[in-house]
Symmetry: C2
Subunit: 411 residues, 2 copies
């Protein structure tokens, strides 16, 4: 009987993330940069805003001119000019004066506040009444209140959410350097696996992992390339693997990784040039029979054939490596977890990290995590699941009513 | 002074979601279908799995043959044939027999359990010792245990996560009907707004909303089409609006929606053919000056010019409409919210729903929501934010230490 000879803990595998390097960069339009990882550091090319702006439609004033104004005792202000949008006002505002201004307009010299139009009445062409006093800097954004010129705005390695692309635009970048989307090769193995378009005979099953893994790669920011199904034939697997490793930044092989009568993945990987086995088994459930090799600079994974195990391993183990390849500054920062109350006791083996599929429900006391029961070969359990619950290797289980942290699954 | 004449509550606006219809459908490969919304109902074309499968590498047995087996008292089983992958075993398993099987292999007639290879020793070519008994159906997935033939697997209107695309593959669909991605036109207005490639003079500001909104549309499943910047000119805005409404499924116009000296958006929308104003102002902060019109069958939005207000309104108000357009069965189901402890008191006006930007931190008692201070004109506040906190219109505020629900912002 063969045995796993490089079983690692999850923590040990995570420590390998930084031993791989990010892929190359490219320059794209900021529109295309959204959800990509920034490859450059962005600094403010100028103050933002570059001038004192109104945040309301109303009247620019010297705030002092409104002090004491109220419904019963309005302030009477002389109407100066209307401030045109996008222009520098060509006059200074004197005490006792008001100038019509729109949201985003530039305050004239002397102006340090804006009275909302709702709190005024226009008396005639030359005067308004103000019913509410404003403190200095009310309804105004001061010059450089958002960002100061030369300030670092976004560091390299930032995931560009919509607001970060907007920020790049604010500082004049219509194109930015981002890391390329890592290309991830996907190979399904197994004599029992047939293409989706065929009708399975007894003993056969359609290929599922190619599609779940491709979706996960896409959702994680990579570009999947599917190499289809390879039968349990070492030469065939070697040929496809070699091609995938040459063409891709990372390779996922599902099936054939367990310790048993067939262990084609390890045998094949060890034959590839410049390739070393880093991990052969992880003390995790589901997904123990996971393989990680380094081929040149590229991670090559042997994932379990069970669809659920492969998905869990992707989310928990592979994703941080994909994040690292695409240059994310915090590749292991899995993001937000959701605290929830556990609906029932769960047993767990010590010495291994368990990931339990849960669905999230709400009752009058908050969010409840309800374990989804079922074997890891059942895809139904992943369809029912909203997230994963990690049970530490040092715990023997968790008790009903405990507050646990749930890792949300891709929307 | 003009006034908002159709101010609505958030709830009233949400009630309008279902008055719009989903866009058309198209058929795409399941690979492309990921993260799209399913346009058809999928039923199981066959049992899944179609046969009794092993979930482990080991030996198929009649479970009864192993009863009582232990380390000190192993069961001695006769080795029958090895079961080939993807084939129907051409023999039945007798009591006292074991047949070598791999993960995913089909159990022979009579077989109702699998002993893991780790719990056996091969004595010679004809016999094994089994060190652990297995209960019936251990390490086995039974025929139709995942799904039964003809069962509804995925209803129309489901968002296809990676597991749902895998499920479609399992039932032989290499192409599925999905709703088209709604095309969303984006128009920025304002004399003060200049293209990102130009250097702003005092009084001017670069266009940010085009990029934040395009990113939000993309993240929400739509296809953004950017119409650029339109100066404060009613004819120009009318021309571009008309073109956008004709070409797109929804239109977003940012800027120029407030009650003031300029209210081009309402004036323009009311001139478009077959267009009626549904909402003019929402009792919400930030983002009160939001407009919704129906032009033919299409929603047209006037969004606030402030970048933060426009983003909050998109996330809270526009997104459910975008979900509806793309056929999602639960368009208002905003998804998961995150319970967190509020770090400080927040005041709020009654009669309006407030959305407070918060960043999430963790301390030894759990997740803390820390309000991000700053005016809604400051994009910095959105860059610092992880989520939004909704304060109901009936509340005057929230207290430090309260457990609140946070709506996560796009990753």
């Amino acid at each position: 009987m063969k045995s796993f000879f490089k079983v690692r803990t999850l923590k040990q595998v995570m420590a390998l993330v930084d031993t791989f390097d990010p892929v190359e960069q490219e320059t794209v339009s900021i529109d295309e940069a959204v959800f990509r990882v920034l490859g450059q550091t962005i600094a403010a090319d100028q103050d933002l805003p570059g001038f004192r702006r109104s945040t309301m439609d109303g009247y620019a004033v010297r705030a002092e001119s409104t002090f004491g104004a109220s419904e019963s005792n309005p302030a009477w202000l002389t109407l100066a000019q209307t401030i045109p949008m996008g222009k520098v006002p060509d006059f200074a505002l004197l005490p006792g004066e008001a100038a019509r201004i729109s949201t985003g307009g530039m305050l004239p010299e002397g102006g340090n506040g804006v009275v909302m139009i709702e709190h005024t009445d226009q008396v005639d062409d030359t005067a308004i009444e103000v019913y509410k006093s404003v403190a200095p800097m009310t309804n105004v954004i001061d010059r450089n209140e958002d960002f100061k010129k030369n300030e670092t705005v976004l560091p390299q390695g930032t995931r560009m959410r919509p607001q970060e692309t907007g920020l790049a635009a604010a500082f004049g970048l219509d194109r930015v350097r981002v890391f390329k989307r890592p290309v991830v090769g996907i190979i399904s193995t197994g004599d029992e696996v047939i293409p989706v378009t065929e009708a399975p005979a007894p003993g056969e099953i359609r290929d599922i992992n190619t599609y779940t893994l491709a979706g996960l790669v896409r959702g994680g920011g990579g570009i999947p390339i599917c190499y289809g199904i390879v039968k349990d034939d070492e030469d065939a697997l070697f040929t496809v693997c070699k091609q995938a490793v040459e063409s891709c930044d990372m390779v996922l092989i599902s099936g054939g990784s367990s310790v048993g009568v067939r262990d084609f993945t390890v045998d094949t990987l060890t034959k590839l040039a410049d390739t070393s086995l880093l991990v052969h088994g992880i003390s995790i459930s589901p997904g123990k029979p996971t393989i990680l090799a380094r081929s040149g600079k590229k991670p090559v994974w042997g994932l379990p054939g069970h669809v659920v195990s492969a998905m869990v391993i992707f989310q928990v183990v592979v994703l941080p490596f994909l994040n690292r390849l695409q240059g994310l500054s915090n590749p292991r920062g899995a993001g937000i977890t959701i605290p929830a109350r556990l609906s029932r006791n769960i047993a767990s083996a010590q010495g291994r990290t368990d990931f339990i599929r849960v669905c999230l429900k709400t009752d009058d006391r908050g969010i409840v995590a309800e374990p989804v029961l079922g074997k890891s070969g059942l895809i139904r359990t992943m369809v029912l699941a909203d997230g994963l619950l990690e049970i530490d290797e040092n715990l023997e289980g968790l008790e009903r009513g405990e507050i646990v942290q749930i890792i949300p699954l891709t929307r």
